[in-house]
């Protein structure tokens, strides 16, 4: 329809070795990120959202991609050489992590760590790198950048540390910024500032943003499109406004309903989802959400529904779409539901 995607993840599968044998943490995940777009991947623990994002950068540690494809600017990254991935990391695809305190090396100055990001990819002098580092610090809103260059991570507050990590990520003007729960460890007033900063800088740099979070409200604030994950699978995706306003997948719907908002009546129980989040070692058979699903059908217990295109740009994984009864009628108009 529009421009070709910057990042296209297709049917990605990732396995981790465990003492009890390999466990598939991500099972056939597909999504795309267009230039300049913000895509949020939202899910609870064990949903595979972080693993999917680390797989893009080849930073899986002991895990490995068993099948699928990750295309960045048309180039296949699965099976790409180690050196090729290394060159992409930090320059074309940068990442911001969850724990700012532990994501900065405690033994090096802030200036040194920003300059390192620059000098890995660009042939610039120490002095030039330092000057650019100061500029970046100013850009992320750290006061007195010249002095801060000489500071060590522990001398900064959590919010400032995360600003530094954003500065590092933006150092080489990446086309894609991956943020893995960047505000989860921060206080809510600081979270608001960091989210605003990321939004502003993304806009100014024209980068795409892949935003990993567990917080639906943060998704609402940040993203254009959302990919909802559960137990290693994508269960719903679409434009944020559509998905949040009228979720079509029972999981998405139940999850949104269970969140306390400023207007939730206090004297009524919250609509909770029964049961617990499964972990990768024992995902249920059939639809992975079926043991907790309020709208479960018989066939959900035995066979897993495919991710169905229910509207243009909108897909959901539920057998009820087949039956045409997942809360709302299936895709109006001429669009034929197709299997992804």
């Amino acid at each position: 329809m529009t421009s070709p995607p910057l990042l296209a993840v297709d049917d990605l599968r990732v396995e981790f070795p465990t003492p009890a044998g390999p466990v598939e943490a991500v099972g056939g995940v597909s999504f795309t990120v267009s230039p300049g777009e913000t895509v949020a991947v939202v899910g609870e623990s064990g949903s595979g959202k972080s693993v999917s994002s680390l797989a893009v950068l080849g930073l899986l540690g002991s895990g490995r991609i068993t099948s699928g494809s990750v295309r960045f600017q048309g180039e296949e990254l699965v099976g790409a050489g180690r050196e090729r991935l290394r060159r992409l990391r930090g320059s074309e695809i940068a990442m911001v992590f969850q724990n700012p305190m532990s994501s900065l090396d405690p033994l090096f100055t802030i200036g040194g760590q920003i300059a390192e990001a620059l000098r890995i990819h660009r042939p610039i002098s120490r002095g030039a790198a330092r000057a650019r580092a100061a500029e970046l610090l100013r850009e992320v809103g750290i006061p007195d950048p010249e002095r801060r260059l000489r500071s060590y991570p522990h001398e900064l507050s959590g919010g400032q540390q995360q600003r530094v990590l954003v500065a590092i990520a933006l150092a080489c003007d990446p086309a894609l910024l991956i943020a893995d729960e960047p505000t989860t460890a921060l206080d809510v007033t600081v979270e608001a500032q960091i989210l605003e900063l990321m939004r502003k800088l993304q806009h100014e740099h024209g980068a795409s943003l892949l935003f990993i979070t567990h917080d639906m409200a943060v998704v609402a604030q940040m993203a254009d499109r959302v990919v909802v994950m559960y137990a290693g699978r994508v269960v719903e995706q679409g434009a944020v406004a559509d998905v949040l306003r009228s979720p079509r997948n029972p999981y998405t719907r139940a999850l949104i309903d269970s969140i306390a908002t400023p207007t939730t009546p206090r004297d009524v129980p919250l609509p909770a989802i029964a049961g617990s989040v499964p972990n990768a070692a024992d995902f249920p058979a059939g639809c992975r959400f079926h043991p907790r699903c309020p709208e479960v059908l018989d066939r959900c217990r035995t066979s897993e529904p495919p991710l169905l295109d229910i509207e243009p740009g909108r897909s959901s994984r539920c057998w009820r779409h087949d039956a045409g009864q997942a809360g709302e009628p299936v895709a109006a108009g001429g669009s034929v539901p197709g299997v992804r």
């Binding site: 540690g61 992590f97 994501s103 090396d105 033994l107 090096f108 390192e116 522990h154």
Partner: protein, 319 residues
């Protein structure tokens, strides 16, 4: 930082004072003194013995002896040996270079090899190399250094009909002979440290390699060399330095037996002989020198901590 340094120095001074008093008092509490030992051997009369005790000041109360000794020590006089009447200081200084050569070689070689092996094991975690390093480390950690020395001696003499020269010659006098003499002792003293160092380096490298900041450095596009040499290794330094201090104590202790075994005329041998002879001035002086050496090294290591880790410099505790 200045405060930190002063603090370390003050701690060092306190430790030294305590060690001095303790060593002095304990030595006097050990049954039998130099005079009674001579009495057994040569059959001196009770009068002569009393005279000798008076001459050495052994009949004074302990705290008077301590005071006399301290007064001398502050003027550089650490007493004279009961045997041969040589000043303790010159006796000690004559032998220090030998022990320092031996100990330093053992520590430097052991530590460097240990750190190297530890890095290799950590980087190749789970491989055969890693397994070999770990097995090797456990083996050498569990065998005491004199046993290693004995095994090597036996092995060389049985299989190669070779044994180290009996008379010690300094490296300046006869380098080849010195090397032969010192090879097995250095090896015996160094292996324990090497094994401990390899294990420590491996585990702290693994810890830092698994940390968030290493992942963040990789995400910047850093290559393996930067990741390992610059970030992971530097973050392992604290634990390696700590171990280095402990190793020093082990090696110093080890020289006492090893020097005796190989008739190497170092301070270890001096102490060993002095203890047998109840040669108080020598024992006390040597022990205090050792303690001083140890305290100085620990202070140096503490200062190195601060140099490596900015959190210590600014007075923030380690996490």
């Amino acid at each position: 930082m200045i405060f930190y340094t002063l603090r370390r120095l003050a701690y060092g001074a306190v430790v030294m004072a305590l060690v001095t008093v303790l060593v002095f008092v304990i030595m006097r509490m050990v049954p039998g003194d130099a005079v009674s030992l001579q009495l057994q051997e040569t059959g001196v009369s009770a009068e002569e013995a009393a005279a000798m005790r008076a001459q050495f000041g052994l009949d004074d109360p302990v705290w008077v002896q301590l005071w006399t000794w301290l007064a001398g020590a502050f003027q550089g006089d650490f007493g004279t040996s009961y045997y041969g009447g040589e000043p303790v200081l010159s006796l000690f200084l004559d032998r220090v270079p030998v022990t320092v050569q031996l100990g330093l070689l053992a520590m430097v070689i052991g530590s460097l090899l240990g750190i190297g092996l530890g890095i290799v094991a950590a980087v190749t975690r789970g491989s055969a190399t890693d397994g070999a390093v770990r097995a090797f480390a456990v083996a050498f950690l569990s065998v005491p250094n004199f046993v290693v020395a004995l095994l090597l001696l036996t092995m060389f003499s049985l299989w190669f009909a070779w044994s180290p020269p009996l008379v010690y010659a300094g490296p300046g006098e006869d380098f080849g002979s010195w090397l032969q003499q010192i090879a097995i002792p250095v090896f015996a003293l160094g292996t324990g440290g090497m094994a401990a160092m390899a294990r420590m380096t491996r585990s702290s490298m693994l810890e830092s390699l698994g940390s968030d900041y290493i992942r963040a450095v990789r995400a910047k596009g850093a290559g393996n060399r930067t990741v390992i040499a610059k970030h992971a290794l530097r973050n392992s330094t604290i634990s390696v330095l700590t171990l280095l201090g402990l190793e020093l104590a082990t090696v110093l202790g080890g020289t006492v037996i090893i020097e005796q075994m190989f008739s190497i005329p170092g301070t270890g041998q001096l102490i060993y002989q002095a203890v047998l002879d109840r040669d108080y001035p020598v024992v006390v002086a040597c022990t205090i020198f050792y303690a001083a050496l140890f305290v100085v090294i620990i202070i140096i290591i503490d200062l190195l901590y601060a140099l490596v880790d900015p959190r210590i410099r600014t007075g923030r505790a380690l996490s």
